[in-house]
Amino acid sequence: MTVRHQTFCAVVVGIVCAIGLAASERATPKTHTVTMENMRFQPEALTVARGDTIVWVNKDLVPHTATSEAGGFDSQMIPAGESWSYTVRTKGEFAYLCTYHPAMKAMLRVR
């Protein structure tokens, strides 16, 4: 095997590994749950990776929303007892609130 061949093989192996790693990262997105109960988001601060899904579960008797203050996501109304899920694609910090009950505030960080 020539040096040129060895280099070629190493590059191919490298690319395959990189694709494999990227694929495995993409293949294992997590699902996180945020409950809306007692007029609070729980947890109030959550850090997730891009591609992860967050499920907001409304356990209160009144409707809520999960709405990013600077845009990005907005659940609209989540009725009592129902949930809404959102898969994050963008890195950043998202302060969000319930538009009905603006004292309900929380933070979502996307790595």
Partner: protein
């Protein structure tokens, strides 16, 4: 005589929450009626304010009261049906209804900033009274565990509404 004693005790509880002792002998059917009536009274005031208030913030709050208290009432009536409890009219629910009707009638005589202020002042007092009633009488008085759990679960919403109304009360008085 027993009923009038409850009326006096409950009226005392609502208007002088700190000074009075908790009313005794209230049953689950009466509690269910008090919960439904208390919510309905605030829905009625909210519907009026949603159309008559001047400030957008007050209108938004009024719409929220209609939505939230309607949601709570649906849960309460569903639970009563499930438990086969028929809400039982009683002096407290009757006085809540009478006071609510009187309050709405008074609000209808007002306009503009005076209406907004009277409505929000009323909401502060009303939510504080309901929280006091929950804490002093209703939660401890409920015998059915599911009814008790519902009362506990609904309390944070009343607290959030009270705080929201107080913030509006402060901003209205600053704006004037």
């Amino acid at each position: 005589m027993k009923l009038s004693a409850i009326t006096v005790a409950f009226a005392g509880l609502l208007f002088f929450p700190v000074a009075s002792a908790p009313a005794q002998g209230i049953n689950d059917a009466q509690i269910a009626s008090i919960v439904v009536t208390a919510n309905q009274v605030d829905i009625d005031a909210g519907k009026l304010a949603a159309s008559r208030a001047t400030s957008e913030e007050v209108k938004t709050f009024a719409r929220l009261m209609v939505t939230d208290h309607t949601g709570v009432n649906k849960t309460a009536t569903d639970l009563a049906a499930k438990l086969k409890v028929t809400p039982q009219d009683n002096p407290t629910s009757q006085s809540l209804k009478a006071d609510g009707d009187k309050s709405v009638a008074h609000l209808k005589t007002l306009k503009g900033a005076a209406f907004d202020k009277a409505y929000i002042d009323r909401e502060v007092v009303y939510h504080q009274q309901v929280i006091d009633a929950l804490d002093k009488t209703l939660i401890s008085g409920a015998t059915n565990e599911e009814l008790k759990a519902l009362l506990v679960k609904v309390r944070p919403a009343f607290v959030a509404h009270l705080e929201h109304a107080k913030r509006l009360q402060a901003s209205i008085s600053t704006a004037r």
